[in-house]
Structures are given as C-alpha cells and as structure tokens.
C-alpha cells in the first residue's frame, strides 16, 4: 500500500500546493473528514474552514472558503474558491471575509430571496465566525 498520495490545492487564481501527502483533513460541508491514501473515491463540497495537510516534510495548514474536494485512491484535489496559507492569514483577512458574508446575508434578506439562499448566507456567516474562534486569532 502506498503511504502517500498526490495532493493538489488549486484556486481559480493560482495553484497553491502540489505535493505528496500522507493525510489531509478536509472541512467537508457535512463535517470534517480525513482522507488518507486508498480512501474510497469521494467528491465533497467544502465549508469555510481549515485544511490540514500532513506530509513527510511536515504539516501545513490552509484557510479555504467554499469549493469542493475530489478524492480517489491515489490523488486528492481540492478546488477552493479562495485559499490562503494559514501563516499568511491575519485577523484582518478574516474580518474581511466575515464582513463579506455578513453583507451577503444582509442583501439576501433584503432582496427577499428564496428561503434557501438566506439560510445559506446565514450558515456561511456562522461558519466564518466559528472559524475565527477556531483559529483563536
């Protein structure tokens, strides 16, 4: 059994990481999951959260907002809408994201969007705020 798998993290603007990983913790939409080599093929959407990558060279963390992850036995690709290496993230970044989510929630409410959208925006806002506490910034 292979003990590493190819891990790629790409955002629309650039490719952030491409390396051999032993385990990757993914903030899935329905809960965190850790993917290791030989994981069953899965596609999951992401919620805003922290992506933790363990590789023989060490552990790295990334802040991701929505997107999705594609897992198959040998490779794992995460397509994040926005992704930042954790050590580059500051409180200001997070505040900006939270502010954006709040704005979206507000416009969704005001525009009288279908109910699902308001709930989605609210969830996004909550996720963003939870992320802040989680990171203890």
């Amino acid at each position: 059994m292979a003990d590493t798998m190819q891990f790629d993290l790409v955002s629309p603007e650039r490719s952030l990481a491409s390396l051999q990983a032993t385990a990757v913790q993914i903030p899935g939409a329905e809960g965190d999951m850790t993917a290791m080599p030989m994981h069953a093929p899965t596609i999951t959407t992401l919620r805003p959260g922290v992506l933790r990558v363990e590789s023989p060279a060490g552990t790295s963390e990334y802040l991701v907002t929505g997107g999705f992850a594609e897992i198959n036995g040998e490779a794992l690709s995460v397509l994040a809408e926005r992704a930042l290496p954790m050590d580059e993230v500051t409180r200001a970044h997070l505040d900006e994201l939270i502010e954006e989510a709040r704005e979206m929630y507000k416009t969704a409410q005001e525009d009288d969007q279908p109910h699902g959208l308001v709930a989605d925006a609210a969830k996004l806002l909550a996720d963003m705020e939870a992320l802040g506490t989680h990171m203890s910034l």
Partner: protein, 291 residues
C-alpha cells in the same frame, strides 16, 4: 510644396508618435506576460473543475429535476449576449472583432424572431454596439478601476447574470470574448454558458464509483453557479491576454509605420533643402553675371 519649417515640425511630431507607440508596445509586452501567467495559473482549476462537472452532469444532469442551469428553461426565446471587450482602445482590431461577432449573432437571432439582450463588459464594446443595438442593452460592467483581474470580478459578473436568470429575464446566455492563441492571433469566440454544456470524452470513467457528500444533486446545484463564475473568469483572463497581445502587435505596426514615414519625410526634407541651396546659388551667380 511644404516649407522646410513645416517638414521639420512634421518629422518631429511623427518622431514623438513613434516614441509613444514604442513605449506602449513595451508596456503591452510586459502586461501580456503577466496576463499570460495569470491565464496559465488558472488553467489547472478550470480543467479539474470541468472534468468533475462533466462527470456530475453526465450522471445527474440527465434527470428530469436537474437544475435549470444545466437543463435550460425549456425555451430559447430570450437570449442574453455577454460581450467582453477591453476598457481601452489602441489595440488593433481586438474590440471591433469581438463586437462584430456579437453583432452578427444578435442580428441572426433577431431575424429568427428571438429577443436579444446584451450585457457589456468593458467600455469599448459598449461604444461599438451602442449605435445599432443600443436598445438591447440591459447592463454594463465597468472594469476600468480594476488593476488586476481577480476571481472576485468574475464572481460579481456571475452573480449579476445568475440573479437575472433566476428572475427569468433570459433563457440562454452566451459570452463573447477573444481566445488567445498567440501575439498575432486572437480568435473571437462565442461560448454558451447557460444552460451549461460540459463535454468530456472520459466522462463515464470519471464519474463512476464516486461517493458524493452531500448528494450528487446537491453538489451539482452548489457547483453550477460556481461553474458560471469559473467560465467567466477564464474568459476574462483569455480576453486580458488577447487584448495585450493585440495591442502589442498593433503598436509594433504603428512604430514601424512611423519609422517609414520619418524616412520618407527626411528624404523630402533633404531634397527641398538642396533645392533651396541650389536656388540661392543660382540667384547669386546670376546676380554676379548681371553686374
């Protein structure tokens, strides 16, 4: 026959023009490299995204309750044309080629009895289409303040388009942009984004055997709007590279033409200078002979 002074001023002014076009060419070359890099950086994302979408669309898109973004509204009566052009001119035929293609398409659709709506991205396309299709405009996206195109810009446009789609303002959306081939070739392209068509050869093999979390349909519904943004983003990037490429070759031409013009004018200047000298000599000599 222009006087010597006129010619001199003329030469100087063409020289100034050449300096400007030369500078613009070099700026465009630098910007082109950056635009190309940006386009290349985004390629892995787009490629993977489309592969996954192709798989999803093949397995879940065929059902009756598939999202309207992939299935369409069941009609093609109202057509939205999203025309992407640059904010600045002086880039050869870049803007007019895109506008021409969009105009052809618009007239073709109108002749077939469809309703045409146009959303312009970039000032130049708006100006070009304003005269004969101005009444079809439903909106304009201004990117002149944007220094560096980001995914956020594409998301804003996508959000606007999707809101209009949800409100039932149109049935089919097509984007017009120039595909970057190389510095001298940019191909004006029309691409339909709503309803989306994801095509991929190895679709069957890709989609088979995946677990979906949450369900396949939920993922598809979540990803389709992102797909619109992704397609708009890659079109914007292609367009950005094409614009700089077109400007670079246009300015290269202009610099060369200015050089030729300077050569010609200099010849003319020297000829008339010699003529003046000859004239003066003749005057002196004939004056001396008359004595």
């Amino acid at each position: 026959m222009p006087s010597l002074k006129d010619l001199k001023t003329r030469i100087q002014s063409v020289k100034n023009t050449r300096k400007i076009t030369k500078a613009m060419q070099m700026v465009a070359a630098a910007k082109l490299r950056r635009a190309q890099e940006a386009a290349e950086e985004s390629r892995p994302y787009t490629k993977r995204f489309n592969t996954v979408m192709a798989g999803l669309a093949a397995s879940a898109g065929g059902s009756d309750n598939a999202p309207a973004l992939i299935k369409g509204t069941g009609s093609d009566q109202v057509q939205l044309l999203i025309v992407m052009t640059s904010e600045r001119g002086l880039c050869g035929g870049f803007n007019s080629n895109i506008a021409k293609q969009a105009r052809l398409k618009a007239h073709e659709l109108k002749a077939a009895g469809k309703t045409v709506k146009i959303l312009t991205v970039g000032k130049k396309g708006r100006d070009a289409l304003n005269r004969d299709l101005g009444d079809c405009f439903i909106g304009h996206v201004d990117l002149s303040a944007v220094k560096r195109l980001g995914y956020v810009n594409a998301q804003d446009i996508a959000r606007d388009v999707l809101a209009r789609f949800d409100a039932g303002e149109f049935d089919v959306a097509t984007i017009f942009f120039a595909e970057f081939v190389n510095v001298v070739t940019q191909i004006p392209t029309a691409q339909q984004i709503i309803p989306a068509s994801y095509e991929g050869g190895e679709v069957e093999g890709v989609s088979a055997g995946y677990d979906y979390e949450p369900s396949e349909e939920a993922i598809l519904a979540d990803l389709l709007p992102r797909g619109v943004a992704t397609q708009i983003f890659s079109a914007l990037l292609e367009n950005g590279a094409s614009e700089q490429g077109a400007r670079m070759s246009a300015m290269d031409n202009a610099t060369r033409n200015a050089g030729e013009m300077i050569d010609q004018l200099t010849i003319e200047f020297n000829r008339s200078r010699q003529a003046v000298i000859t004239n003066e000599l003749i005057e002196i000599i004939s004056g001396a002979e008359a004595l």
